[in-house]
C-alpha cells in the first residue's frame, strides 16, 4: 500500500516534470543546467538526498519555531507588563484602589471563580490541601532559591494576594489563603513565626515566577544599558582599520575605563556592612527582624511597582501609624465571615482607618455583618469569642516601625547589589571588547561557516566519482560508452 502510494506520488511528480519540461524546455534553461550536476549528485547519494530533504523541512520548521518562541516571549512580556499594571492598581495602599467601585471587584471575583470551580466546596477543599506547615529550614531553602527579601509580613501578605489576583488560575487559591490567614487572626493565637513562614511561602510561590521574569527583564535592561553606554563611533567596531595611534588611544581609553570600573567595584566590596545580600537578609528574618530586610524589600517593591506613579504611592506609605492600624481589621470583622469577603470589602473596611478618622464612613464596614449566613468556615480556635473580639492585633513593632521610618532614606543603599552586578557585568563586557578588538562584536564574520560548508561539500563530492555518475545521453561520452558495451575490445576496426 505504501509502496503504491509512493509510486503514485513519484509518477505524479514525474508526470508534472515531464509536462513542464516538454512545454517550457526546462532542461535547457541556464538554471537547470547549473543545478543539474548537483541534482544528479543528490539523486545518487542517499546521504545528500536525506540532508537536502531534511533541510527542506527543517529550515522552514526552524523559522516557524523561532518565530513562535519570540511571539511567546513577547506575549509573556505583555502579560507581565499587564500584571505589573494590575498590581499597581490593586495595591492596598494605593488611594485609587480605595476609590474603586465595589461591583467591579465582585464581578472580577465571579469571573475568576467561574472557570475553575463550580461551587464553594471545591474551593474549600483546595484550601485545606493548601494548608502547608513549613519549617524554618524549608523556608530558608526556598528563600535562598528565589532570593526573596521578605519584609513586613502582614502588610505584604495582602499585597502578594492582590498581585496574584491578576492571574486567573492562582487568584482563587491565593484569595482563599488570604481569607484563611485572616481567619487565623481571629481564631487562633497569633504565632508570628508561623505566620511569617506561611506568608513567605506564599510570596515565594506566587511571586517567584513574577520575580524571576522581572529579574530577567532587569538583566536585559542592564544589558541594554551597557550597550547604550557604548559610544556611537565605537573605535573597536573597526579596530583593525585604525591607525596605530588611534588603536593605542582606544586601548588606553578602554583600560582607563576598566580601571575605573575596578576601583568602583573595589570600593563597593570594601563596604560589606552596607551592602545587604539577599541571604543575609533572609537569615535576619528568622532572628527577629532587621530594618535592612524590610527596607530592601520595600525599596525594591517600590522600584518594581511604583515607578510610573510614585506620586500616588507616597501617601500610602507615608506613616507607620497607619500601617500599625492595619491589623486591627479582625476586630471589626471577628463576628463576620471574613472568608467570604472580597479583597475590596476587606480593604473597604480598612478605609476609615487608613484615612483620617471620618466617622461618616464607618457604617460601610457594618454592611458585611448580615453575610454570616453563608459562612462555612469553622475556626479551630481556643480563644474565647469575647477574647477574640477584644483582641487588638499588634504585630512586632520593630519591623513595622523600621519599615516605615527607614524605607525612604535608605533607598539608595538598597541598589548596592545591583550596582555591583552592573559593575561586574561592565568589567566583563570591557574585557571582552579588549580581547575581541580585532573582531567586530556584533557581526561575527558570517561568511566563515558558509565557506566551511562549501569546503565540506567539496570534500564529500570527491568520493562520488567512484559511484560513476550517470552520463547524459546527449553527450559524446554516452555514445562512446554505448559503443564500448556493444563491441568487444578487438572489434575496433569499425569506423
Amino acid at each position: 500500500m505504501t509502496e503504491q502510494l509512493l509510486q503514485t506520488a513519484l509518477d505524479f511528480f514525474k508526470e508534472i516534470w515531464f509536462q513542464l519540461n516538454s512545454r517550457f524546455d526546462l532542461e535547457n534553461t541556464e538554471a537547470f543546467i547549473f543545478l543539474k550536476p548537483y541534482l544528479i549528485q543528490l539523486q545518487d547519494n542517499p546521504l545528500y538526498m536525506g540532508i537536502s530533504l531534511a533541510a527542506l523541512f527543517l529550515v522552514p520548521y526552524g523559522m516557524i519555531k523561532i518565530r513562535s518562541i519570540s511571539k511567546a516571549r513577547e506575549q509573556k512580556l505583555d502579560e507581565l507588563m499587564e500584571e505589573m499594571e494590575d498590581e499597581e492598581e490593586y495595591d492596598e495602599d494605593d488611594p485609587r484602589r480605595l476609590r474603586q467601585p465595589e461591583p467591579e471587584l465582585n464581578e472580577m471575583d465571579d469571573d475568576l471563580a467561574k472557570p475553575l470551580f463550580g461551587n464553594g466546596e471545591t474551593t474549600s477543599d483546595i484550601e485545606d490541601q493548601d494548608e502547608i506547615i513549613i519549617t524554618d529550614e524549608d523556608l530558608e531553602a526556598e528563600l535562598d532559591e528565589f532570593e526573596l527579601e521578605p519584609s513586613d509580613t502582614s502588610a505584604d501578605e495582602e499585597d502578594s494576594n492582590l498581585e496574584s489576583s491578576a492571574e486567573p488560575v492562582s487568584s482563587l487559591l491565593t484569595e482563599s489563603e488570604f481569607d484563611k490567614d485572616l481567619n487565623e487572626f481571629m481564631t487562633e493565637e497569633l504565632d508570628w513565626e508561623k505566620e511569617e513562614t506561611s506568608t513567605v511561602e506564599e510570596l515565594s510561590q506566587d511571586d517567584s515566577s513574577h520575580d524571576q521574569a522581572i529579574k530577567e527583564l532587569q538583566e536585559e535592561g542592564e544589558l541594554m544599558e551597557l550597550e547604550d553606554t557604548l559610544p556611537t563611533n565605537d573605535p573597536f567596531a573597526n579596530y583593525s582599520e585604525l591607525d596605530e595611534d588611534e588603536q593605542d588611544k582606544a586601548i588606553k581609553d578602554l583600560q582607563d575605563e576598566m580601571e575605573r570600573t575596578i576601583s568602583q567595584l573595589t570600593q563597593q566590596i570594601e563596604e560589606p556592612s552596607e551592602v545587604p545580600s539577599s541571604i543575609k537578609d533572609l537569615s535576619q528574618i528568622h532572628i527577629g527582624g532587621d530594618a535592612t530586610i524590610d527596607e530592601g524589600y520595600i525599596s525594591e517593591e517600590e522600584e518594581e511597582y511604583f515607578l510610573e506613579d510614585p506620586a500616588e504611592k507616597t501617601p500610602a506609605v507615608e506613616t507607620p501609624e497607619i500601617q500599625n492600624k492595619e491589623p486591627s481589621l479582625p476586630i471589626e470583622s471577628s463576628d463576620t465571615p471574613i472568608s467570604e469577603l472580597s479583597d475590596e470589602e476587606i480593604l473597604a473596611s480598612l478605609e476609615p482607618e487608613l484615612k483620617a478618622p471620618a466617622s461618616d464612613e464607618i457604617p460601610d464596614t457594618h454592611d458585611y455583618e448580615p453575610e454570616t449566613a453563608g459562612f462555612t468556615f469553622e475556626p479551630e480556635s481556643d480563644i474565647p469569642q469575647n477574647e477574640a473580639e477584644s483582641f487588638v492585633f499588634e504585630p512586632e513593632p520593630t519591623s513595622l516601625e523600621d519599615t516605615g521610618h527607614t524605607s525612604i532614606p535608605n533607598e539608595p543603599e538598597a541598589s548596592y547589589p545591583e550596582q555591583t552586578d552592573s559593575l561586574i557585568d561592565r568589567l566583563k563586557f570591557l574585557q571582552t571588547r579588549f580581547e575581541n578588538r580585532y573582531q567586530p562584536l556584533e557581526p561575527m564574520s558570517s561568511p566563515a561557516p558558509v565557506e566551511k560548508k562549501v569546503l565540506d561539500y567539496e570534500s564529500l563530492a570527491e568520493p562520488r566519482r567512484y559511484t560513476r555518475a550517470s552520463v547524459p545521453p546527449d553527450s559524446k561520452k554516452y555514445m562512446d560508452l554505448l559503443e564500448s558495451f556493444i563491441f568487444m575490445k578487438d572489434q575496433k576496426k569499425h569506423k
Binding site: 509510486q7 516538454s22 545521453p473 555514445m479 554505448l482
Partner: protein, 325 residues
Amino acid sequence: MTNPINIIAVGGGKGGIGKSVICTNLAAGMALSGQKVILMDTDFGASNLHALLGIGNPAHGFQDFFNSEITDPRSLLLDTGISNLKFVSGAGDNPGSANIDSDKIGTIISFIKKLEADTILLDLGPGTNYNVIDFFNISTQGVVMTTPEMTSIMKTFSFIRSALFRRISQAFQDFPEIQKIVDHSNPNDADMESYTTGLLRSKFADSFPDHTDQLNSIISNFTPGLVVNRVRNRKDLKAGDNLLKLVKKFLEIEVTYLGYIIESDRVRDSIDDMIPFLIKDPQSKPSENLQQIIGALTNTDLQFVKRDGRIFVSKQVRLSSGWEA
C-alpha cells in the same frame, strides 16, 4: 485483386520493454479504425497476449499449429470481443517449446501468410534467436521497441543488426562463402570480423563484388520503425536518438522514428484490467502517443474519443499515402 497483407512485427532485443502491450494496443487501434486485424502471439514458450486480452483458457494455441487435424487455419482465430480483431494464441506452450526447429517456424510462417486480413500483427519474443528474427523478417513493417535504458538500447541495436544480417544471410543462402561472413551462428566456421555494415560492404567489395548491389539493396530496404517506450523526459527521448545514430553509424540503415509512449500508470492498470489502454481511456496521454504511432504506421491521422462508454474514431488519410500528384 486483393491488397497484400500488411504484416507488422513488433520486436526488440530485451524482454519486458512492453512489446506485447504495445502490440495489443496497436492491433486494437487498427481494428477500431476499420482494418481487419489479426494479432498473433509468436512468443512461443512465454506467451501472454491472451492474458492481456482477457481470454481465459483459449480454445486453440501454439500446439495446434502442428496438429494435422486442423485443416482450416481460420479455426485458430479466436474472437477478442473487439470489432475486427482476431487473435491467434501462443498459449499451450510447454517447457522447451521455444526451441522449435526452423521447419516448424516455416510452417507457422506459411500459416501466417495464408491468413486473410488487412493487417497481421506479430508479437515477438525477446532476444535475437533466429526463431524470433525470422518472424521479424517476414514482416512488411518491422517495429523495434526500446526503453530509454542503455541496456535496452544495446539489445535493440543487436536485434536490428541480427535481423539485418539474418536477412542478408537468407538472401544469399545459396552462397556458403557469403554465409560465413554474415551468419555467425557457428563461430568456428564464420568470419567474425564483419560485424558492421561497413565491414560487410568492404568484404563484399573484396570477395563478392557481383553481389554488392544486392547487398546494398537489402540494406537500403531494411527500414524498421522505432518506438521508445516508457519515456519520462526529454533525456529519455535522447536515448532513442542515440539508437538511431548508432544504427546509422554502424549499420548504415535508416530507422524510422515512429514515436514514443510515456511512462504511465494507466498502461499498468490496463494490464491489470485486461483491457487495452487505448480502449479503456483513449484520451489519455499514452493513448494519444499510440494513436500517433498507428498514424505513422498506416499513414493516417487517427483520433479516438470515448463518450458514454462508446468509442468514436475519426480517421483522416494522409495525402502522402498515394494521392500526391
